[in-house]
């Protein structure tokens, strides 16, 4: 499902990211700053500094002389900061890129947010909007970067169970970065750890 072997020139020193997995859901844990976010950006095609090869879903996205542009990869990326376009309404955010929130409104509890000003959203509300926006356009691969970190405990468990089930129903591949053991087990993720040395199973 995933085959990544890239080197990213980062300030402290080059970061080598190697990952090969046939699992549908790959979970990545590890210390802050180890490069988990960089791994997702490489998969989304957003890190131009990365040299090497990236394959996913049986396609070659990056190789010497080949680079599939980020807008052609069909991924749903939920960045760690859960960015919400500040000049668009919540509804416009959810439809941006041709997304159709539909059943996600119920699943993520977005109904009450639709009429809100984007700049008044809390961190957890932003995360739910970012999830709805990424999932609503029926991505072929979901890249989740600490997507539930700002949700309070009860909501967190409900939302992650809902998202995990939604992905499972569609057999949707997921790469999930999280500090939280519970997030990774809820998705039944194959566990990887990213430490100073690189990516390892475990």
């Amino acid at each position: 499902m995933f085959a990544v072997d890239v080197t990213v020139p980062l300030p402290p020193g080059p970061l080598r990211l190697q990952l090969r997995s046939d699992a549908r859901v790959v979970g990545v844990a590890g210390a802050s700053g180890a490069g988990k976010t960089t791994l997702l950006r490489v998969l989304a095609g957003l890190d131009r500094r990365a040299a090497g090869s990236v394959s996913a879903l049986g396609e070659v996205w990056q190789a010497p002389g080949r680079f599939v542009e980020p807008w052609a990869r069909g991924v749903g990326w939920v960045p760690q900061e859960a960015l919400v376009f500040p000049h668009l309404s919540v509804a416009e955010n959810l439809h941006y890129g041709g997304g159709e929130p539909g059943p996600l409104v119920e699943l993520l509890g977005l109904g009450e947010l639709l009429a809100r000003r984007t700049r008044n959203l809390s961190g957890g509300e932003r995360q739910r909007v970012a999830l709805g926006r990424a999932m609503g356009r029926a991505p072929r691969l979901l890249l989740l970067d600490e997507p539930f970190s700002a949700l309070d405990r009860a909501l967190r468990e409900r939302v992650r169970a809902g998202v995990a089930a939604w992905c499972a129903e569609r057999a949707l591949p997921v790469v999930l970065v999280s500090h939280d053991e519970g997030d990774l087990t809820a998705f039944g993720a194959e566990m990887w750890r990213l430490e100073g040395g690189g990516l390892e199973r475990g």
Binding site: E69, W77, G97, R137
Partner: protein, 227 residues
């Protein structure tokens, strides 16, 4: 034409003339990494450190009547030296660094992650620019426009060399004040022009500040103490 009207016209003309090139330079300097970037930056900034009189002389070297460019412009019916067009050109070139700087910071204020996010959502770069970068930068770009206009209103050194000081044709506000200083009866009219100049400049600065506040608000960067 009165000096005030002529200045307004020159300021508007210089802003219109500079907008395209300044926006391109600003975007490239804000968002692109390439060889020769510092060289481009230095060339763009040159009029800021050159004495405006020297800039005027250099412009005269390029656009003077005897030069290829100058004679071609004259043949088109657009002579540059000692014409209102010359005043517009002088103001545009001298104001260019300030124009690029303000537009550049308007683009730089837009978090590039919004653009990346848009790309990841399947929206190609051109459309991402139109739907994300431009609307988010817009108030800052408008602020830059106002500042460039205000700078153009008061240009003196390069204007006097390239366009001269012809009453009704190239005598803008600053040149008119200067001319009146030499006249024994000029004190009262000079005072009026100085007041007009102050009003225009502070009006433009107030608009600049208001637009910048709107920009920060739009980007969600305002610190709202009431909340």
């Amino acid at each position: 034409m009165s000096p005030v009207a002529l200045s307004l016209l020159v300021g508007a003309g210089a802003t219109a003339l500079g907008l395209g090139p300044a926006a391109v330079c600003a975007w490239v300097l804000a968002r692109r990494q390439f060889r020769g970037k510092s060289l481009l930056s230095a060339v763009v900034m040159a009029p800021l450190v050159l004495p405006p009189v020297v800039t005027g002389l250099l412009l005269l070297r390029v656009f003077g009547r005897a030069t290829p460019v100058g004679s071609a412009m004259a043949a088109l019916g657009l002579p540059v030296p000692f014409s209102p067009l010359g005043a517009v050109l002088a103001a545009a070139v001298v104001g260019f660094p300030l124009f690029v700087m303000t537009l550049r910071s308007a683009f730089e204020a837009v978090d590039p992650r919004y653009e990346e996010l848009s790309l990841s959502l399947g929206v190609p770069p051109r459309e991402t620019f139109r739907r994300i970068t431009l609307p988010l930068a817009l108030p800052g770009l408008a602020a830059g426009l106002v500042l460039a206009f205000a700078r153009g209103l008061g240009e003196f050194g390069a204007t006097v060399v390239l366009a001269g000081n012809i009453e009704g044709r190239t005598r803008t506000l600053a040149l008119a004040v200067y001319a009146l200083l030499d006249s024994p009866t000029g004190e009262a009219p000079a005072r009026q022009l100085v007041l007009a100049s102050l009003a225009l400049s502070f009006g433009a600065l107030a608009a600049f500040e208001a637009l910048n506040r709107w920009h920060r608000r739009r980007l969600g960067q305002e610190d709202d103490v009431r909340r």
